[in-house]
Amino acid sequence: MREQADLAITAAVAVLTCVAAILGAPIPVTAVLGIVLLAGPGYLLGQLLFGSRIAGLERLAVFTGLALCVPILGGLALAAAGLALHRTAWLGLLAGTTLVSDLILFFRRRSGRVASFSWRQEGKGLPTRHVVTLGVALAIVIAALGLARAGAALQSYPGFTQLWLAHPNANAATANLGVGNYEGRTTRYLLVLLRNGHEVASWNLTLANGQSWHQSPVFSAHIAANLYKLPDVVHRYRYVTIGSDGGASS
């Protein structure tokens, strides 16, 4: 059984990835399984094509190349067959390629045409000092990526508020009026809707950061909206207008 351990592992990963997808497993689980599932066919096809005739870096490069070939050429085949390239199709392609390759490799090994799997053949362990060095380097790099992410999160941008009044579909009876708050804090607004320069409706809005507000007022030829950032009701903060020739009156 040890001689087929690699086949058992790749087959198990293929099945587990499909099960994890069906059960809606958390992303850390599907991420690890998915990456192994993508790499699996490369290893198996490499074993089928080259067996142990290539080694070291060349083996790693060829197996990686084969792993990338499967979704590229397989995806084209699926698309040509008219299948939509959603999760099911990709899982089917990768898991299917893995299981079929496993089977072929299994029978070829049993017939002696391909060398059996051996842990020793797959590579010797690294010396302890190299493992320690790599561990230190990895820790520093993780800290660097964490610092970069933290720096990006800490970067301050000026806050802003969106006001919109759109009527992209000429046949629609209503317009799309909305406000989005990205000021970085909860903000209070006064929104005034105007028709032909006359106020027809107003709303007092309190929006949390990232929150937006929508309305669908009846569309008419001259429609506008003024937004005030409270408590200032004198200077309009934002304005939008459709059908007028000088902007909404303040």
């Binding site: 399984l33 590229i72 995806g75 299948l83 380097a137 969106q162």
Partner: protein, 617 residues
């Protein structure tokens, strides 16, 4: 078999005994130290980037910190590769891998939360389209040719689908793996050709000095994925001609066919370069009467040319329309070059003095080293046809240097060509350096040999200084008017997302250069390039309206900050007749005129960004 160099594990420094040479540096850095130094270098660069984001993007010390980080990555690697002590093959591979991974992680640290580079945003859009629709041919208005070469998007959508990770995360994984794979394949090819893993390592180091190595060639772009398959095809061709047994030969042939197919469906130019490269090797084999190699590589040449032509004819006929302007521009530039009439100023001549000095120094050094390398090829490798082919193609380096310094858009052209031309050029330069360092030469040349690590480092720092991001965006920071990555921020992304949600995809938009890729990617809109006329006049005239109608323009995106700063890249718009000529920002009145134009609706107000809807036909 002619052309086959057997890799001898004892062969470290060619021309020396016991793996030692007279001239190289006496430093004996353990590879572990190189690895940890590189990791610290990435950390220091992340520190510099964080300083930039916190408001110190223009600070000299933040800039100095960035270069300190780069030095920590590059110097130990170069010193170890040129060191007196013998190197094992695994040590060379480790150094090459550490260097590549460290530079890639430094690139990741620049935009650690999402793609900001224009080309990456184009492929992000294509991938999102595949994920949303399940179809490969969904339009991408920003890069219409992209869905016709879907290799990158297929891998990305497959990985995103089965892992549940974001497109950004899988994009980083795929680009990183593809980039490292390309470097490994380069190393393998160089090692096979030269028979020395030390020369292979130095050649990779020289290749890493090309200005696109740490940027375009390692980003989430279709060329990044196609490059390793170009290399893998050449590796398979080499193995096919290496006189091995029939069994492996069939395997390598199958592998070569797969690699060619992947290259063709992933990136147009790379597939043409692959066919051209195989053709050069075939011709070299014919010239050297190596019929065996000519037959195998000639067959692969025909296969790659036929596959690329078939894909062009039946799957991606738009490629010609896409590449034609670039090809015509290149031809005109080359005609101007050979007619000795400069067609325009090149940005290679701009930038800080230090960058220009580095650039000039690199040109002089490589120009001097290439003939030395050719001499080495003639002396010791003239029967090895792959090396002869590399020597022939490396002449192209002088053409791209001439283009860089003398023709309009020469830097862009030279940068893109460098990805390919640098492969043979780096190898020939490495042969030259190995000869100078290892041959126990005397006198002045010996001085040059002693400074070999410094020479390679100079090349690498030039690649970084004159590569991407440009010097004016070396560090990430506050919003930059009509810039690149620094023009992609929350306000622009929110406005672009609003256009998709409220207006639907594919609307024809006018916008500035800074917002162009954000609008086309996050907004899935169709931004036009030739729109400067809308922003550079006090009044929206009937002529402007007629031109806008001819372009079927529906919306105008106006960023009020165009009136506050000069453009970082010298131009406000993707096609800008006044590029490089602006002496003051655009007048506010030129941007505000739509507020008082009859029939123009002001449909979005985000403070800095206002969107207008033009009157329909």
């Amino acid at each position: 078999v002619a052309g086959l160099a057997v890799v001898d594990a004892s062969l470290d420094w060619p021309g020396t005994k016991g793996g030692r040479h007279a001239a190289a540096t006496g430093f004996n850095l353990p590879v572990g130290v190189v690895t940890v130094c590189a990791a610290i270098g990435v950390l220091v660069i992340a520190l510099a980037y964080t300083a930039g984001r916190l408001g110190y993007a223009s600070s000299p010390w933040a800039d100095g910190t960035y270069w300190l980080g780069q030095a920590l990555i590059l110097v130990p690697a170069a010193v170890r590769l040129f060191a007196r002590r013998a190197l094992s093959a695994s040590e060379v591979v480790t150094i090459v891998t550490v260097l590549t991974v460290a530079e890639y992680l430094a690139t990741v640290c620049y935009s650690p939360a999402g793609f900001t580079f224009a080309d990456e945003l184009e492929h992000w859009r294509s991938t999102v389209n595949v994920l949303q629709t399940g179809r490969l041919l969904t339009p991408n208005y920003l890069l219409p040719i992209s869905p016709r070469y879907p290799g990158l998007e297929e891998v990305a959508s497959a990985l995103a689908s089965v892992t549940g990770l974001s497109v950004f995360t899988v994009g980083l994984i795929i680009a990183g793996v593809a980039h490292l794979l390309f470097v490994w394949v380069l190393y393998l090819l160089f090692r096979e050709f030269s028979g020395s893993y030390r020369i292979a390592g130095i050649a990779v180091l020289c290749y890493a000095s090309n200005s696109h190595f740490a940027s375009f060639d390692s980003m989430f772009i279709y060329q990044t994925l196609a490059l390793p398959f170009l290399g893998l095809t050449l590796l398979a061709a080499w193995r096919l001609t290496a006189g091995e047994r029939t069994g492996p030969r069939v395997s390598w042939l199958i592998f070569a066919v797969l690699a060619i197919a992947v290259t063709v469906v992933t990136h147009h130019v790379t597939s043409y370069v692959l066919a051209a490269t195989l053709l050069v090797v075939t011709l070299a084999a014919l010239l050297m009467r190596n019929w065996h190699t000519a037959a195998w590589v000639g067959g692969l040449t025909l296969l790659s040319a036929a596959t690329a032509a078939s894909w062009l004819a039946f799957a991606a006929p738009q490629t010609w329309t896409y590449l034609q302007p670039i090809a015509v521009g290149t031809l005109r530039s080359l005609q101007a070059l050979f007619a000795a009439s400069h067609s325009g100023g090149s940005s290679a001549l701009g930038g800080p003095l230090g960058n220009r000095v580095l650039s000039a120094g690199t040109v002089l050094i490589v120009s001097a080293l290439l003939p030395v390398g050719w001499w080495q090829v003639w002396r010791t490798h003239r029967h090895q046809l792959w090396i002869v082919a590399m020597a022939i193609v490396s002449v192209g380096w002088y053409v791209i240097v001439a283009a860089r310094f003398t023709v309009a858009d020469g830097t862009e052209l030279a940068g893109r060509a460098a990805t390919f031309i640098f492969v043979p050029a780096a190898f020939i330069v490495a042969l030259a350096l190995a000869h100078l360092v290892g041959a126990g030469v005397r006198g002045l040349v010996r001085v040059v040999a002693v400074s070999a690590p410094a020479v390679v480092l100079l090349l690498m720092f030039d690649g970084l200084a004159n590569g991407w991001p440009p010097y004016w965006e070396r560090l990430p920071g506050a919003y930059q008017v009509a810039g690149s990555e620094r023009s992609v921020g929350p306000e622009e992304i929110a406005a672009a997302r609003w256009t998709l949600a409220a207006l639907g995809p594919g609307n024809r938009f006018a916008t500035d250069a800074g917002s162009y890729s954000v609008l086309g990617s996050y907004g899935d809109q169709n931004p036009l390039q030739n729109v400067a006329y809308l922003y550079t006049s006090r009044v929206f005239t009937s002529t402007d309206a007629a031109q806008a109608q001819t372009q079927a323009l529906r919306y105008v995106w106006v960023d009020q900050r165009l009136s506050q700063s000069l453009p970082a890249a010298g131009q406000y718009f993707p096609i800008d007749p006044n590029a490089g000529k602006y002496t003051h920002p655009l007048p506010e009145a030129d941007l505000d005129k739509f507020n008082t134009t009859r029939g123009v609706a002001r449909i979005y107000d985000g403070g800095n960004i206002v969107i207008y809807e033009l009157a329909g036909p």
